[in-house]
């Protein structure tokens, strides 16, 4: 591992960084670093040695080159809304990119934009709206999260069911490698010759370097949109409705499930959307595309829901009502603070046919460990977000929550699923990597990282357990069978 800057280089490093970006943009005192100890998952906290906030592309390059010169590890951070502890920078330099907020260009004819990494997702869509365009990936944190963070996590969102995740909307990235070298991955024309290094970079969780600018594809608004709210008296029947809609071949733009406790938290908030508060679950289903035939599809979805046991289905009439229904869903995670002072959230994915079974299993696990699980998730992708609210001042409850989370993750893996749909591995899901991948596969991941960051200074200690890389490099013979 690289040397810990907190131990030997910090005083000098702070002043050298300040010379590059200005004194006010370097934080070194513990009281000011406190706010940067966590991302959106505050159960984890770790203190950076320093935080530095460059304001321009050139400053960013200068900072990273200085860090390379000093062999100092660093962690890039956008808005700190991540949910896997990925932006924690224990003992290393936290490189805040939230000041790089320029939208460099919007090309309406070719429907693409070039943005700096600190541009907020929703800000890009708002700017593109002037041209009848929007940026399709819509993570629930889109009013706060940055494009750079979206690239790092390969972020999804409700509408990724039909439109795909960040990977499907990024054409090119100018990457600042941890060595300080600047390279361009992908091309604005969308043609990718040779190995797809852009694809490797997207979702690399800050381990492969820093995006200096991102060329994204913009989407045109669909001709017609129908948003349905289906109201169920059991989670199981809602899950069956999801399965039958998917099986029918209809591809909704989005299909989200929220359970009773989540609905109640949202309805108590400023984002109250008019969800039925006595429902055990609701499905929020959006259909979009050509106007012709959309009402037939809506009628079929309505019928599938009712067949599965829905108490009622309504179609949002006006754009304002649709927006309200979506706001409620997107702010649901934030509303969890109404349930308990502390919160953990997971991001597992299961095959969609397994949804009814896994939701029943999660309920069984919750009862076994005496915890309250709230489910709000992307049902159409089988991407679960079990939230457990708890009181972290109780050691016993904290322990039960962790056991329950581990059991839920194992159940999802056993069901043929995986441990993250969109939040990333970060720190939070490291312990599950060994259960999901063979040592050879993890070794291959380490080898890929070597290509981008041979010094392993960019977001060290995340994504792949350190012992995997050690084993990999200790036993070169394993490389022969490595790329599984």
């Amino acid at each position: 591992m690289p040397t810990d800057v907190a131990q030997h280089a910090a005083p000098d490093l702070a002043s050298r960084l300040a010379a590059l970006v200005g004194e006010r943009r370097v934080l070194a005192r513990p009281s000011e670093l406190r706010s940067y100890e966590s991302d959106g998952l505050p159960g984890y906290h770790a203190r950076p040695a320093l935080a530095v906030f460059p304001g321009t592309r050139d400053e960013t390059i200068a900072v990273v080159r200085l860090l390379a010169e000093l062999d100092a590890p660093f962690v890039a951070r956008g808005a700190g809304t991540g949910l896997s502890g990925g932006a924690l920078a224990e003992g290393s330099v936290l490189l805040g990119l939230h000041r790089l907020t320029r939208i460099l260009s919007i090309d309406a004819d070719d429907a693409r934009a070039v943005v700096e990494p600190g541009v907020v997702n929703a800000t890009l869509s708002r700017a593109a709206a002037a041209f009848g365009l929007h940026y399709a990936p819509d993570p629930s944190s889109q009013t706060a999260c940055t494009i750079g963070g979206n690239v790092a996590e390969n972020a999804g969102g409700p509408h990724c069911l039909k439109y795909g995740v960040t990977l499907n909307h990024v054409l090119a990235i100018t990457v600042l490698l941890p060595s300080g070298e600047v390279v361009t991955l992908g091309s604005a024309d969308g043609e990718r010759d040779g190995y797809d290094l852009l694809g490797a970079f997207i979702g690399s969780e800050g381990c492969f370097g820093v995006a200096l600018d991102v060329t994204v594809r913009l989407a045109r608004a669909p001709q017609a949109v129908r948003t349905l709210l289906a109201d169920f008296s059991s989670v199981n029947s809602a899950a069956h409705a999801v399965s039958s809609i998917i099986a029918s071949g209809i591809i909704p733009a989005a299909m989200e499930m929220m359970d009773g406790p989540t609905i109640q938290a949202v309805e108590a908030s400023i984002y109250a959307a008019g969800y039925p508060v006595d429902a055990a679950a609701i499905l929020l289903i959006e259909l979009d595309g050509a106007a012709a035939g959309i009402d037939d599809d809506a009628a079929r979805v309505d019928a599938f829901c009712r067949d599965a046991g829905a108490r009622g289905v309504r179609i949002a009439a006006a754009p304002a009502e649709r927006a309200r229904l979506w706001q409620g869903r997107k702010k649901a995670f934030g509303a969890m603070g109404r349930i308990a002072p502390n919160l953990v959230v997971q991001d597992a994915v299961v095959p969609r046919t397994k949804l009814p079974a896994i939701l029943a299993e999660i309920q069984r696990i919750a009862e076994l460990h005496r915890v309250l699980v709230c489910n709000v998730f992307h049902a159409g992708d089988g991407n679960l977000h079990p939230n457990i609210g708890y009181d972290a001042t109780s050691a016993d409850e904290t322990e039960r929550v962790h056991r329950a989370m581990a059991a839920i993750m194992q159940a999802c893996i056993d069901a043929g699923g995986t441990i993250t749909g969109e939040h990333g591995i970060g720190l939070d899901k490291l312990p599950y990597m060994d259960a999901l991948f063979t040592p050879a596969t993890l070794g291959a991941m380490c080898a890929l990282r070597e290509v981008f960051d041979p010094g392993r200074r960019s977001n060290p200690g995340k994504v792949v357990p350190v012992h995997s890389c050690r084993e990999w490099f200790a036993a070169p013979s394993a490389r022969a069978g490595g790329a599984s």
């Binding site: 959106g40 000041r99 400023i270 995670f333 969890m336 972290a392 001042t393 904290t398």
Partner: protein
């Protein structure tokens, strides 16, 4: 770094402080970050320590004792908060940020007092004779045009004079006598400190428009400063003293509604029950009074408002934070403007963002205040409107001073003044057909 979240200690390190009672509000924050883009100081200063989420982290550190009450960084970032509460209308968890901020400031100022200028202003506002003298001094300075002359001075002194200069009435006054049947009930006006001192015309316009919309207006002689400036600055003892005085005074009036035309004061009065929650008897009395408090735009919108005569001009609307975010009142002021024939209302980009006035903030934190004001002025200029309407004296003076110093032709007015001018125009049209 242990790859699982750990249990945290429960102990409160600062028992007996106002902040120690606010833990539940702090715990409601899940650190989601949805408040960041709503926060003017985060957008301006680009440091999470100057965001709601970051400040809540600092508050939590004070409560659990991991940072001391006299930590200079904590004080800096808490002081820099505008208290605009835009984070509250972004927060899904309902964190009562305004209350947390006041509790934090009340706790911190016990350790380290506010700067002299802040204490001087608060001292004056809490004493009726001094306040009247200060306002008289202001009016003399304005009447002699000294404020116009001195508004060219650089720095805070010049800005303060520009604020005073901007209180000069923007509307041409034409006399009319409103008629109304009083059928909507009785209303009494919180005359306010700055409103009665420097915007007396707006207070009279408020009374006239209320009468014209079916309210009878009665006076409440014993009223005092609402205490908002004191509560926001951490001087909660004085805020409570003023709160109790006003509760007693407005109990006497017996009016159905307490009409307030200063958004900051209205927000304070609606929260009197919280302010006086340390005493059960006063809390109940305060809750009863608070339940009668209405922003003047609520009362007028409730009545329509009645449409007036034509005003051939353009206006844009800037929402006072303590109207939009603290009182959650969005459309009533726009309905007032909508009742004026001939008036063109141009939407204002970023009207939900603070202008940087924030009570006495613009005097205590001038640099940040100026940087928050700059985009507001640019957005107003982009509308090319002749007037910008906003219903709070602080905002009227902050925006007014900014417009004055940049030589803009646009003037800041209270929405009530526009409606009143519209009614006057109607009365004169009838008189001279």
């Amino acid at each position: 770094m242990k790859p699982s979240p750990s249990a945290i200690p429960a102990a409160c390190a600062i028992p007996g402080t106002p902040l120690s009672n606010a833990s539940a509000g702090i715990d409601a924050c899940v650190h989601c970050g949805f408040c960041l883009q709503a926060c003017p100081t985060y957008i301006t200063l680009e440091d999470e320590n100057d965001s709601p989420r970051g400040r809540i982290v600092l508050m939590r550190a004070l409560v659990d004792g991991s940072l001391p009450l006299d930590d200079a960084d904590v004080r800096t970032h808490i002081d820099r908060c505008l208290g605009c509460r835009a984070c509250e209308t972004a927060c899904p968890s309902g964190v009562p940020y305004g209350q947390l901020l006041e509790a934090t400031r009340a706790t911190l100022t016990r350790m380290t007092p506010n700067p002299f200028l802040a204490r001087l202003v608060l001292f004056v506002f809490a004493r009726q004779v001094l306040l009247r003298l200060a306002m008289l001094g202001g009016r003399i300075t304005r009447a002699t045009r000294l404020s116009w002359l001195l508004s060219r001075l650089p720095g805070r002194a010049g800005f303060a004079m520009a604020m005073l200069e901007s209180t000069r009435s923007a509307m041409r006054r034409r006399h009319y006598t409103p008629t109304g049947d009083g059928a909507r009930g009785s209303a009494t006006l919180l005359t306010g400190c700055v409103m009665e001192g420097l915007f007396a015309n707006t207070n009279r316009a408020t009374e006239r428009t209320l009468v014209a919309n079916g309210y009878s207006v009665v006076e409440t002689p014993q009223q005092r400063c609402c205490g908002a400036l004191h509560a926001h600055a951490g001087d909660d003892d004085t805020a409570r003293m003023l709160g109790r005085a006003n509760v007693a005074a407005f109990e006497q009036s017996g009016a159905d509604f307490i009409a307030v035309n200063a958004a900051g004061c209205g927000a304070m009065m609606k929260e009197y029950a919280h302010l006086l929650s340390d005493d059960p008897t006063w809390r109940a009395r305060a809750a009863a009074v608070a339940s009668r408090v209405r922003d003047v735009s609520e009362l007028l919108a409730e009545a329509g408002p009645r449409s007036g005569g034509a005003l051939d001009t353009t206006v844009t609307y800037d929402a006072p934070c303590h109207l939009l975010h603290a009182q959650r009142i969005a459309s009533p002021p726009l309905r007032m403007l909508g009742a004026i024939p001939g008036l063109t209302v141009i939407p204002l980009d970023g009207s939900e963002h603070c202008c940087g006035s924030a009570g006495i903030y613009n005097l205590i934190e001038p640099d940040v205040s100026d940087r928050v004001l700059a985009p507001k002025l640019a957005n107003i200029a982009a509308t090319r409107a002749s007037l910008v309407a906003t219903g709070n004296p602080g905002c009227l003076m902050q925006i007014g001073a900014g417009l004055h110093q940049t030589g803009a032709r646009c003037r800041a007015v209270h929405p009530v003044d526009l409606l009143d001018a519209s009614y006057a125009a109607q009365a004169h049209a009838h008189r001279t057909p």
